[in-house]
Symmetry: C2
């Protein structure tokens, strides 16, 4: 039987999972790849640290050169996070003739064009299924399985940490800080979860998906994004009363005049599939013009689900499928102009949820609704309760307004004017509502 020699660079959580799958399930992998998938080297900086996988004699090394200078190693799972030294290492591996499999979405979102161009020049490939949604094979599904379609829209819950936090806040009526602490104890959130909860991670994944699905060349940092780090349990509770749950939603939607992209906490109607995605799960709803809606749901992170995606890519690369896809689709090619431009955010239509703290006296609601009316924003529903005992000034009450479709620019301008009203205390909470 033929043999493909493989190296892993970076023996963290995912690297350990990949090593275990290759070492413990060689028969299965060989059957699915039509050849032996042989783990020849594992590179890790720290040879002394405790490892959760038994590597055969001679496999572990702290020298990248042991991979670079070994012409027998054809494919490398490059599993180092962050931008540097990950970028430099990937370029060195490509120069040395290796095909790459990676899970590093930040690197692709930031340096995709450079890395893919260099790979093409050198006749090498980069596979990146594990970079978005972990075990949910959304990259292959968009690139191959749905290739007969023009994708029309894509809505996703793409960050397991955020979704775990929001689910726990929602189901336990617990404040953000408490839930983050619990998520850290359970291993669902890192010591510094900033990139997960502030929308950065989701924007990077959305930039990659938008490129594959729409041919958009988009700087992830330009995607309008709001995280869940400022989310108030009150908003989860009012949303439930209105029949919605709040999810950190990535949205890409094609219109005649361009592509809409956004990341933010969004009200999703209870009972629809995306609203019922709980805890650390990810999900993506894709609409294609031929296939209609297709919904994917699975574990978006974690050792084994991510390793499952990496090993599938290692097999595809060893079999030669990746090369064909890579040659055909020309991802991140600087020769291909973007096929679609981003829409002006101010003209985007959407429904909105507003929560305000207002003076409990006559004329308040009239003043607020007059502002909305001036900006052609029509009201769909309103919640106003009597003041809570003690927790708020008796003369201040919460007011929740859900609108019909309105332009983002109008909603923004109205928010500013409403905040300036004497009857309104503090900032207005404004959230998107999914159609």
């Amino acid at each position: 039987m033929e043999k493909t020699n493989i190296a892993i660079v970076g023996l963290g959580t995912v690297g350990t999972g990949v090593a275990r799958l290759l070492l413990d399930h060689g028969d299965r992998t060989a059957r699915h790849a039509g050849r032996t998938m042989w783990l020849k080297k594992v590179v890790d900086r720290d040879l002394g640290k405790h490892r959760e996988v038994d590597l055969p004699e001679g496999v572990l090394t702290d020298s990248l050169d042991d991979v670079i200078n070994d012409p027998e190693i054809e494919v490398v799972a490059q599993l180092i996070g962050g931008l540097e030294p990950a970028r430099t290492i990937m370029l060195s591996l490509l120069e040395a003739g290796k095909n790459i499999v990676t899970a590093n979405k930040a690197l692709l979102a930031e340096h995709g064009a450079e890395l893919f161009t260099r790979a093409r020049e050198l006749g090498r490939t980069i596979a990146f299924e594990a970079s978005v949604a972990g075990g949910v094979p959304i990259i292959a599904n968009i690139s191959q399985c749905l290739s007969a379609n023009q994708i029309l829209s894509l809505e996703g819950i793409l960050n397991g940490t955020s979704n775990f936090i929001v689910t726990q806040m929602d189901e336990k009526d617990a404040p953000y800080d408490d839930v983050v602490r619990r998520a850290q104890e359970l291993g669902y959130a890192e010591a510094n979860p900033a990139m997960d909860v502030d929308g950065t991670d989701v924007a990077q994944k959305l930039a990659i998906l938008a490129h594959l699905a729409f041919g958009a060349t988009v700087n992830w940092a330009e995607i309008p994004r709001v995280g869940i780090d400022g989310l108030d349990p009150d908003d989860l509770q009012y949303s439930r009363q209105l029949g919605y749950r709040i999810k950190l939603l990535a949205l890409a939607k094609l219109a005649d005049d361009g592509l809409e992209l956004s990341v933010g906490p969004t009200l999703v109607r209870i009972g629809t599939p995306l609203a019922e995605v709980r805890d650390a799960f990810n999900a993506i709803r894709v609409i294609g013009d031929a296939v209609g809606p297709v919904f994917y749901h699975g574990l978006g992170a974690g050792q084994n689900p991510t390793a499952s995606a990496v090993v599938a890519d290692l097999i595809d690369t060893a079999v030669g499928r990746t090369r064909l896809t890579f040659q055909t689709l020309e991802y991140f090619s600087i020769d291909n102009p973007p096929r679609v431009k981003l829409r002006d955010a101010a003209t985007l239509l959407g429904r909105y949820y507003f929560r305000l703290s207002v003076a409990n006296h006559p004329g308040t609601l009239a003043a607020i609704t007059a502002v909305l009316s001036k900006h052609s924003i029509s009201i769909a529903s309103v919640i106003q309760h009597e003041p809570d005992d003690g927790t708020e000034h008796a003369d201040t009450v919460p007011l929740v307004i859900m609108t019909h479709a309105a332009a983002e620019g109008a909603a923004k301008a109205a928010t500013k004017e409403i905040e300036a009203l004497a009857a309104v205390n503090g900032p207005v909470v404004r959230l998107r509502v999914k159609d």
Copy 2:
């Protein structure tokens, strides 16, 4: 740009959809395939019939020889249903050097080994994404995307017609015959829907999936199967009261002593994803040992979703990915012994729902529960209502019993004994309950 010449054999609903996608969206298809996908010939027996697609001059023919004798045609979408002449035509096309794309699950379930062996001998490929679950790309997902996994189980709603009928019966409390008539009017059911509603179609699809996911070589006719054609609205209603919906479920589950396969109306807990699959949608829940649970949901039939799967296969075949997958995986190879045997149905453990019509006098429940107890079947819940006015004899009442896990053999034997009790009228309804 390179060009791949394509032919369609059979211009029915799906063939028309495929022709439209190729003709109307040539730019897109070329971009996704890296070459022009050129529709050179369409073979249809009846040149005179009304067609819903405008074919360019010279494309339509009633002679298969125009395809067989044209060496420029490399790939053929063979879209004729049934076993013959579909089998003979496919063999002729393979002999003529064509690669095949098909949606014909009955043909693959019945003659897969013969056709795939012949294709391999001739160095040709057969792609069949459209044969299972229409627009849901489950074939590629099991064969490639989840290739790092041992699939542990697979649960699917694989027949859109049946699911439409069951959903309508459930939501409208309507009897089977009325709903079938409505489904026929709406185009969701054929004039003779027997194969869709009696479980045949689902068993054929499950046989294909079981081969891909578990290496099982299984005659579809040997899969225990029950259809929805005998389903009583009463059972849908009692199930709802117990917190379940009834779905026509295909199940494949790996255990130490073999593979369990079954098709039948099954109680699925309300709120779980499979229970919420409505109307003509299909869904599949796959559990892999690395990836965990992955859930897929989409349109399982219809012109465009099925055409989406066929065109994706045409692209994969033109690009060369199909050849690599086909060579590697050796599907339906007679040289590869099956890797798993079917479990003895009598030993399978499962929960059951029983509905009986019983005499409304003392001792009845005692007699029935004594039989269950004798067969070590433990009761989880019971519904017994007062008799309906008029519709039933006042001395007969319905009795519904839901059990804990019990062996299929024991459940069957108990059913027989219960039916023989003097206090029980007519046959007992026995349905599986999903774990």
